[in-house]
Structure formats: structure tokens, C-alpha cells
Amino acid sequence: MNASTTPTLRIEGLAAGYGGFLVLRDLVLETRGRLTVILGPNGAGKTTLLQILATLLRPTAGSLSIGGADALREPERARALIGMVAHGSYVYEDLTARENLRFWETMRGGDAARGRLTAALAQVELDGVADERVRTFSAGMKRRLGLARVLLGQARVLLLDEPFTGLDRRGRKWVNEFLLGFKAAGGTAVVATHNFGGGLGVADRVAILGSGRLLMDRPATDLAPEELHRLYESLTDGAEQ
């Protein structure tokens, strides 16, 4: 991965809903080679937005372009660039960490050689438990295993849904460092979270999503932590953090 191949993620006029109820409306966002953190209270539409970006859900209006491909018309092209770590991290509890990676890498059509899998596990500091069943793992370890899958797949657009939930301080620091490394390698990352405890320190842009709208989208360097808290409180009417 290098800067010349850094993909652009662009959405315009995006709207989405369930059964006539609009969850997202008129969203505009463009990011390339950056880490964008989308903050929002529960029910703001963060997961719906990430599912649309991952091409798992079709919007009711608007356009989505990933790496120059129209992701709504050609989701397969866009999916080749995407690495997604959702709430569940896509892990099978009764397989070992190495078996999980072998499974997903083979499904991706990649090289599932033992050495490659071990190297990916070492990168996320799970090589010591490579042959243990995931059922015995903590939430943080499962999250790291999900990230190892992304590393193996050489994804260039990383989508993380609430990656800091259930993690202790060390786990949050680890995910932040991972995000910095991913960004430095030319990747584009979008993190959706309701948690001020993670991601913001390494973000390039911070957006606030509330009631299905992007209420704010600014460079992270323009925002002091206190100002961000104040803005969040006022824009989301003090909704749950």
C-alpha cells in the first residue's frame, strides 16, 4: 500500500431508511488517506452509515464511490478494497485464531500459508494464542483478530464500528496505534463510535452524526477536547455518549 494507490471514499446526498423511516439523510463526506472518526449517540445512524460504506446496505438515495468505483453499481470492486471490523469482528468461536484467519483468507482468494497467518497474528500480538479457540478470547483479543484479518486481506479502506467498546486502556491504545500504522501505510479509515475514550487522539477529521444528519465535519486539529465535548453536547442535545 502506498500513497499513489490511496483510495478516496466519497458519499453525496446519501439517505437511508427502514420501512419508510429515514435513518440517514443528505449526507456528504469525502476522505482520502485519512482517519475520520464519526461520533454520535446510540441510534444516530452510525452503524447504518458504515454498512452502506461497506456495501452491505443500499441507500435509498445518493451516491457512494470507493477508490473511483461506483460502489452501488459495482459493489464487488469496492469490496476488494474494504476491510470491515463490525461489532462481532467476524470470528467463529469454535475455531482457533489461526483457523479463523485461514478460513477468511481462503474465502478472499488469498494465500493462506501458515507463515503468513502467523506473521499477521504476530502483528496483532496474538501469535502466542494462535492455536487456542476464540471462545476463550476477551473482546479485545477478538477485535485484534478481526484486525489481523484486515491486515491479511491488504484492505485499503478500513471501516471500524465501535472498535473501542469493551476495551481497557491498553486495548484502546493498541487500536489507536494500529490506526496510525494503517494511515501511515496510505490507508483510508472511518471509525464510528459513541466513545470519547478512543480514536479521537489519532483522528484527522471528526464528524458528529445526530438524528441521521452530519451535524459537524471538521479537521481534528481545529478541535480542542473541551470544545469537542461542548459541541457534541449542544449538537446532539446531550444525548447518551
Binding site: 454498512q51 469454535d94 483457523e99
Partner: protein
């Protein structure tokens, strides 16, 4: 044609086969470790045998006449339990989403799942056949080879539709109700052919006498598997 020109097609077939295989490998490995389906189905088979025994009494002639129907009733009921659960594991930890995001032809997932279900059902059928032979003193060994052919074809037909419908209903709240309601009507040709062929074989008729039923089974299998392969991607994408 040059080797280079052949390579992409060959590579696509190889990748498709590997993906179907890894699904089968994963399902069987999880089943071997968790034993969720295997244990429940084994216990269910034993219960069925006792229920049939109570329902029909000790009359050997009545039992012998009812064996083909009971045998397939057992397979269908065990199949409903086993097949209906075949995609539940994918819901855990959002793996269903992960499968949707994998590139390539999604029918490979269907093929791998179908193969896994066939293996599991065959194991259950072998146990049921052995138990039927022992419990009811029915000679299932003499026609074992032609019976295996009927069971094999019937299993593919049942698993082909069952795998597709299990995928369709796995995200539905009333899946336990919906799955049999969808599956059983579509299985009528398979049930008709398998029960009739099994009955004829148990009465000592040669395989040639049930050729028309075997043709019907093979035709149904072909149609069901083809429909499954062609429609699975739409089912997965919801």
C-alpha cells in the same frame, strides 16, 4: 490456446473449489468440536424409534410394511432439525456479513454448506438405518447397495432445498415455523420417489424395477441444486 490464456479460468475454478472446500472444512470442524447438531440428532433418532415402536406395537408385519415410510419420516424430521440450524452459526459475531463481503461467486458458499449438510445427514441416516435394522429386525443388509443409492439421491434433494431455505429463513424471527412450511411441500417429489423406491427394494425387487423413481430423484436433485447455485447470491445479499 496458450497456458496464459487458460490460467484465469483455471484460477477461477481453483479459487471457487477452495472456497467451497473451506466452508465444508469449517462447518465440519465446528460440528466436530461443538457437537451441537450431532448429539441432538442422535438423541432425536433414538426417541423416534421408541415413538414408532409405541405407535405401531409389536406386530412385525405392520412394522415391515411401515418401515420405508417411517425411515424417511425419520430422515425428514432429523433433516428439519439439522438443516434448519445450518446457517445459525453464521449469525454469531456477524459472520454472515463477513461472508457477504468476500469476493467471488457466492454459490461456492452454498456448495460448501450443501456438502456439509449432506455429510451430516448421511451420518444420521447411517445411524438410523442401523438402528431400524436392529430394533425392528428388518433385513436392510441384502438391498444395502441399491438402498444406499436411493438414500444418497434423496439426501441430496432434501439437503439442496433445505440448505437454500435455511439461508432464506435464518434472519427471520419465525424461522422454526417458516422453514418446515417452506421445505416440506417442495420435497413432495423426493419423498414420493424415495419412499416408493425404498419400499420396492425392501420387498426384494431389483434396482431396474425402481429405475423410474431413480430418474425422478436424479432430475429433482439436478433442478434443486441448480436453483440453489443460481439463487444463493440473492438470498445471501437479502
Amino acid at each position: 490456446m496458450s497456458a496464459c490464456a487458460k490460467e484465469p479460468g483455471h484460477s477461477a475454478v481453483s479459487s471457487y473449489t477452495k472456497r467451497a472446500w473451506i466452508i465444508l472444512w469449517k462447518d465440519l470442524l465446528i460440528e466436530r468440536r461443538a457437537k451441537e447438531n450431532a448429539n441432538a440428532l442422535l438423541f432425536f433418532c433414538l426417541l423416534l424409534l421408541f415413538l414408532f415402536q409405541f405407535a405401531l406395537g409389536p406386530d412385525r408385519e405392520r412394522l415391515a410394511a411401515a418401515v420405508p415410510g417411517l425411515l424417511w419420516l425419520g430422515f425428514i424430521l432429523a433433516g428439519l432439525l439439522g438443516l434448519g440450524r445450518s446457517f445459525l452459526g453464521e449469525r454469531e459475531n456477524d459472520c454472515w456479513e463477513g461472508l457477504r463481503l468476500t469476493p467471488g461467486d457466492k454459490s461456492a458458499i452454498y456448495l460448501g454448506k450443501l456438502a456439509g449438510n449432506c455429510v451430516l445427514m448421511t451420518a444420521v441416516e447411517i445411524i438410523l438405518v442401523v438402528l431400524f435394522g436392529v430394533f425392528y429386525s428388518v433385513d436392510l443388509w441384502t438391498p444395502a447397495a441399491p438402498l444406499a443409492l436411493v438414500l444418497g439421491l434423496g439426501t441430496i434433494g432434501l439437503a439442496a432445498v433445505g440448505t437454500l431455505f435455511a439461508a432464506m429463513t435464518t434472519q427471520v424471527r419465525a424461522r422454526e415455523l417458516l422453514f418446515p412450511v417452506l421445505l416440506l411441500p417442495v420435497q413432495v417429489p423426493v419423498l414420493l420417489a424415495t419412499v416408493s423406491a425404498t419400499q420396492a427394494l425392501l420387498l426384494g425387487q431389483p434396482l431396474a424395477d425402481v429405475a423410474h423413481w431413480l430418474k425422478l430423484l436424479a432430475g429433482a436433485d439436478l433442478v434443486y441444486v441448480t436453483i440453489g447455485l443460481l439463487t444463493f447470491e440473492f438470498v445471501l445479499e437479502g
